[in-house]
């Protein structure tokens, strides 16, 4: 247990103590609070065009009228939105000359995760020569992508360089007024990623590879927009298995995916933000809105492995607008100690012959609460819509909770909807069986959990699946009692 949480706890406690909630106080940080002037200032600082400023203001005006949702099955103290600074200068990270200076416990965690030395250096903030190294790697990637006409850059850059694309698609999948957090994000989003795959292009690499090397540190209000034009394909991976050391308590990201006719987007997420300490103190509130729209014969596949954050509120969804389109959701959500997760998906069937698949695996340990909440909605025009949902919960110990809230609305008689749910507990007989074969209890739990999660782990890009598997083990370390 001496690995990340203890170490993160220590680090975050000192950071909080030192800097408070508002990151580094330097001349570039805005005063706390939110009002129209702050929004204008953010937009100006980012050198955005007028339409973007107006878009943000419009979002802000909607947000002011909205109230924070309370229907979810999580409990937390609501953040004071006027006590947050909504723009801060790029974060200063400690720089080290070599890995020898980096906290050995952090390195140990990296090693457990199987992260390469170069990436370790990058993630730990080891300076210069390595960065030069990865910059060159990144440049090669950038050239390869550019050859195919693929645009992959920060959303800020896209607003400046490709305003027509951003303007056309931003807010079309997750409207500004969609929900409280989405409206907040629209008003104040700090940065994020933009990706455009032209017609008929198959993105030649997992964008994860590129992304991880280039990762600038996720912002508090991240905004991602991925547009796959007709007959294109892209696999995108966000997040990192390495523990994220972010002192921001509130995260409200928005991700929008647009899959045009015959396009396919595979979006994988690994989320491992600070979950709070063993007593449930601290930790990130993660309120995310993720949604994709599928046009004719398009396919969107969400895969997520969620192990971090104190509170998670997240429902990656698919609007199956086009005929014969396909939506998929594969999820593993792990909660330990005092973590709370309310996560799931919405599959909205609008087009004919649309298909959706939901595989959700919830693992609860400690005192945690893990809820699956999903909606399968079949609209009147959606002839022959089909859905298959499977929600499995695995419990460890008897202090945690697993909950399932499936909602089904079928407005067309031809719909076929299947829902399966199971709840199981890791049994002492299973552990003893493993012990008898020489496998200790920790390893036995890891084995059982990995077996339980296999269908979802198999959906992750290969190299990431291995890391995710180890991440599950680490997240549940110390939960054997």
């Amino acid at each position: 247990m001496a690995y990340t949480e203890e170490e993160l706890k220590k680090e975050l406690e000192t950071k909080e103590y030192e800097y408070g909630f508002y990151t580094d106080i330097d001349s570039d940080t805005f005063p706390i609070g939110l009002n129209e002037n702050i929004i204008r200032a953010i937009s100006k600082r980012k050198e955005e065009p007028e339409w973007m400023t107006e878009w943000r203001l419009n979002a802000y005006r909607s947000w002011v009228e909205m109230t924070e949702p309370e229907w979810h099955n999580v409990q937390y103290t609501k953040p004071d939105f006027q006590a947050i600074s909504y723009y801060s200068a790029p974060k200063k990270k400690d720089k080290y000359e070599s890995l020898d200076e980096v906290d050995p416990e952090l390195l140990d965690t990296f090693k457990k995760l199987g992260i390469s030395i170069d990436e370790q250096k990058k993630l730990a903030g080891v300076a210069v020569d390595i960065v030069v190294d990865s910059v060159s790697v990144a440049t090669t990637f950038r050239d390869t992508l550019a050859e195919k006409g693929i645009i992959f850059c920060s959303i800020s850059e896209a607003i400046k360089e490709h305003p027509e694309l951003v303007k056309k698609y931003i807010g079309t999948v997750v409207p500004v007024k969609d929900n409280f957090y989405a409206a907040l994000n629209s008003a104040v989003f700090s940065d994020g990623s933009f990706c455009y795959i032209p017609k008929g292009v198959r993105c030649p690499m997992e964008l994860s590879t590129y992304f991880r090397i280039n990762q600038a540190g996720t912002g508090q209000f991240e905004r991602t927009l991925v547009v796959a034009d007709e007959s294109s394909y892209v696999s995108y991976l966000e997040g990192c298995t390495a523990p994220s050391r972010d002192e921001n308590q509130l995260h409200a990201a928005v991700v929008e995916l647009v899959a045009m006719d015959d396009a396919e987007i595979k979006y994988s997420t690994v989320q491992n933000w600070y979950p709070g300490d063993k007593e449930g103190k601290g930790g990130v509130f993660n309120f995310v809105t993720k949604r994709g729209i599928c046009h004719n014969r398009a396919k969107i596949s969400w895969t997520q492995v969620e192990t971090g954050s104190a509170v998670t509120w997240k429902y990656p969804s698919c609007i199956l607008k086009g005929d014969n389109s396909i939506g998929e959701f594969y999820s593993i959500a792990v909660t330990n100690n005092f973590q709370q997760a309310d996560t799931g998906t919405k599959m909205v069937h609008l087009g004919k012959n649309t298909k959706s698949t939901i595989i959700s695996k919830g693992i609860s340990a400690g005192h945690s609460q893990n809820s699956y909440r999903g909606l399968v909605q079949v609209q009147p025009r959606a002839v022959n819509a089909r859905n298959f949902s499977q929600c499995d919960s695995l419990l460890m110990g008897d202090l945690c909770g697993a909950h399932t809230f499936p909602y089904i609305e079928a407005k067309n008689n031809s719909a076929q909807i299947e829902h399966e749910a199971t709840t199981s507990k890791i049994g002492e007989d299973q552990i003893f069986y493993c012990n008898q074969r020489g496998i200790d209890a920790e390893k036995a739990i890891a084995l059982i959990v990995n077996g339980f999660s296999k269908e979802v782990l198999n959906k992750l890009p290969m190299e990431f699946a291995v890391e995710a598997q180890k991440l599950l083990e680490i997240s549940l370390e110390g939960s054997v009692g």
């Binding site: 299973q430 493993c434 496998i439 200790d440 390893k443 084995l447 990995n450 339980f452």
Partner: protein, 249 residues
Amino acid sequence: MLLIDDLHASVEGKEILKGINLQVKAGEVHAIMGPNGSGKSTLSSVIAGNEDYEVEKGTISLSGENLEDIDAEERAHKGIFLSFQYPVEIPGVTVTNFIKTAINASRKAQGLEDMPAKDMLKNIREKAALLEIDSKFLSRSLNEGFSGGEKKRNEIFQMAMLEPKLAILDETDSGLDIDALKIVANGVNKLKSKKNAVVVITHYQRLLDYIIPDFVHVLHDGKIVKSGTKELAHELEAKGYDWIKQLVD
């Protein structure tokens, strides 16, 4: 190799084993027979180190080492293997993956590196062939949807892979048809050597036609009440357990 001295054990406060004495030497096969509820499975669980059972008195030692403070997984590392009467299911974990994990856990305990993938594969193939297990079986989830015979065959496959010093076969014959019984028994016989020992726990004499014991012990109400050679098993089969009861009374 195995020395049990005046072993008393209980579960949930109820005494099951009431003074067991048993000595098993390398190269020997012992059979422990007895009616239901006589303590056969408890004895195997206690030897394997199941913490649901409380050892009240007496000792178990393996190659001269007292096992009192040794966990189940360490006992496994030291060479104790238990073929379960009711093997558990672990969904999503393949037979191959499970045995790999088990072997590497034992190797790690001995300070060895993981077994190279090539050697592992070769080993798996050889042992699978020995027990007439086909390769499709190896990629199925552990015990999930297995027939009784498949479960037992898988137990013996794991035994073959782990090469234990002391193997305890708890009712391995239950749920096996005659063909499966022969395959399993044949597998066990091939694995027998002068360096290891086998304890067969069984209700019926049937299995002992195929795995010939050097000694037979009859367990009754938590005690070994009679010991003998393989003829004792035949006598028991002929006269029934009531004969033992009368003998004790």
